[in-house]
Point group: C4
Chain length 218, copies 4
């Protein structure tokens, strides 16, 4: 990453623009899904922004493929990038990388390690949860027998899913809605793992330090 | 913290009064929310206690801001204090600090490290859960189509949320009730992390000690 | 524990009888709760066994109090024993101690450390879950609007609670049933912590060993 | 395992065939459960494949019992193998071993330790979840008052159970369906433990390395 190969330079220069691009994509998608009463011109503008952002993602993927010189082996080796290209709602995760890039430019990171893990996990869950709530709302709100009818219902359902609580008062009923839901459950599991793992390792760290400072008879 | 700066001295002297103040705030709030048949005079007294406690929190925040000499950078640097000032129901968490202060005065802490983590996590969850159950009950009990109708329902719902079980037989239906619910879910995640992390690090500690004491062939 | 004080000798000699006594208590309670069509004489015998077991627990508590020579400080110092005396359904947990005692007599424990933690956690959860399912069934099965009507429902609900899943298709509706449910949720949290903590420390152990054995470049 | 005893050689040679056999068993079971409109001949072929695979498992168990020379002590010592023989839907877990065997033949494993744990946990959960969804669907889809009516419902229910979310919109109602459900909940607990434990130990690993590389004042 720190070397001066063409790939590294490309990634360094496209990081911030592509991150902004992801936010643009998410915003345009949100306006399209939530803006029921918008004039057609505004909807067309949003659709254009959506497609333009997607086009840029495609160009970036192509350039990185070409620069890598890996040929057909590039697709399985970068399966996460390929997935994100096909499902660009997962793109906002790149914001995490942008934040890192901005921090790196200003010098050394100012956040301690545990705070960084908590910050990244929180930001990723926030963005993924927002994208998931939008997508589930789009699939569900007009389905027959749907219980998720407003965007508020969808956000409430997303929170209860990410926290692994799962009340079940509102649930997706369509096939695509449930597929997105399974993805959100996986995020919830990862979030639980991140919270628990951070706490566990922080406790071990504290206990190790206290054990050094205090007399052994404590 | 152990130095003799004005801030440290202020915090040392206000710790116990502010902790009692938080308990007073929570008690007055509970009486206001649950005491439907109280005479108006008693309700006014509770409201007065509530406002007086809030005023003291404001004074404490102002004094600490002034003493810090940080100017406008104080608010983001102490965002947790700012949040607790705006949502004083989170205040009882200060009881944790009061307990620490009382312990420190009587000499060295008598609880071992793991017991302290368990004790603080339990106390925080108990106080936050009680405040959350009160707030959700206040929002929900008179809403149309509400399923949380009595304070017992609210406590039952709070417990199932904090344990990440989430039966869904009673759930908040109002916008504000659901917002408080999301906060309680986050507490539940943190509780799960605390329980798991403590157990994990305790096991590692025990195993490391057993590994030292026993022959390596065990 | 290994010394020869009167308390240690008393505990060593009463461990196995009191463990069998706990199993007798649980069995008699189960027969009383589930045996709707038993003849009165059989029910009276079960009740007598229940009371006799409880009496023995009381005698044991009294003897240990006397032997400790601690006076009134004994009750808070042994709060867990006091709780178990008041709620003897938690007694079967002593079986864990009995197993340990039996193992110790036959020589050194034959189970490795991780297996022992898993075994104790599993046995405790099994016994507590059975006792909880019995108690919830007793409270709920004849309550109005109850959803837990058969013992099978109660076992199903207990499993979904202990695993923190919480479907909510059957839930306790009485005040006492919900109180027992909160206790079971706490057991579920502890179980989750035990499973996660064991796995986490086992992984760390394996990784540390692999790290030693393999070349650092792996 | 690495020695040249007859058992080790038998296991080495039967690993891949038995793994393929497990996949055949699962496929035949899936076709039988899901293929409602198949011609009788095709159903008979599937049934034959099912029984043939089961017979091979029995032969393998018998040969390993004979080779071990342990007599009746073999059954409790290999209780997991015995369980898998009785419930062959748990068999696909052997695929994990097949993967290991294939990797070993090609030389040293190419996946790092954390990736291997994640890969095995993911593969096991996928196969067990598929088998569980099939079995629950078979038990439930024609039961009176069933809420799991299609295979899609069953998969959706399985995912919400494995992630410990438990919406409760569709739940098993038959005795056997609920028993399978309890097994899936245990898998969910183990999955949660695996995810959390991996993350926790990975964090500790990273923090330990960062602690070595950076100046202590960081």
């Amino acid at each position: 990453m720190d070397d001066d190969s063409p790939q590294a330079r490309w990634e360094r220069h496209t990081e911030v623009p592509l991150g902004l691009c992801s936010l643009l994509f998410l915003t345009a998608y949100a306006v399209l899904v939530l803006g029921h009463g918008l004039p057609p011109a505004a909807r067309d503008a949003c659709l254009a922004a959506l497609l333009a952002a997607w086009g840029l993602f495609l160009v970036d993927y192509g350039v990185r493929w070409r620069l890598s010189g890996q040929g057909p082996r590039f697709v399985p080796a970068h399966w996460l990038d390929t997935l994100v290209l096909v499902l660009p709602l997962l793109r906002p995760l790149r914001v995490v990388k942008v934040y890192e890039a901005v921090q790196r430019r200003r010098g050394r990171p100012r956040l301690a390690l545990y705070a960084r893990v908590a910050f990244y996990a929180g930001l990723s869950v926030l963005l993924l949860g927002f994208a998931g709530a939008l997508a589930v709302y789009q699939q569900e709100h007009s389905a027959p027998h749907a219980t998720i009818r407003t965007f508020g219902d969808s956000v409430w359902w997303t929170c209860s899913t990410l926290a692994a609580v799962g009340y079940g008062d509102v649930v997706p009923v369509t096939r695509l809605g449930r597929t997105i839901a399974v993805g959100l459950m996986a995020c919830g599991l990862a979030l639980l793992g991140a919270v628990t793992g951070s706490f566990s390792s922080w406790l071990l760290h504290v206990f190790a330090r206290e054990g050094d400072e205090r007399p052994p008879g404590f």
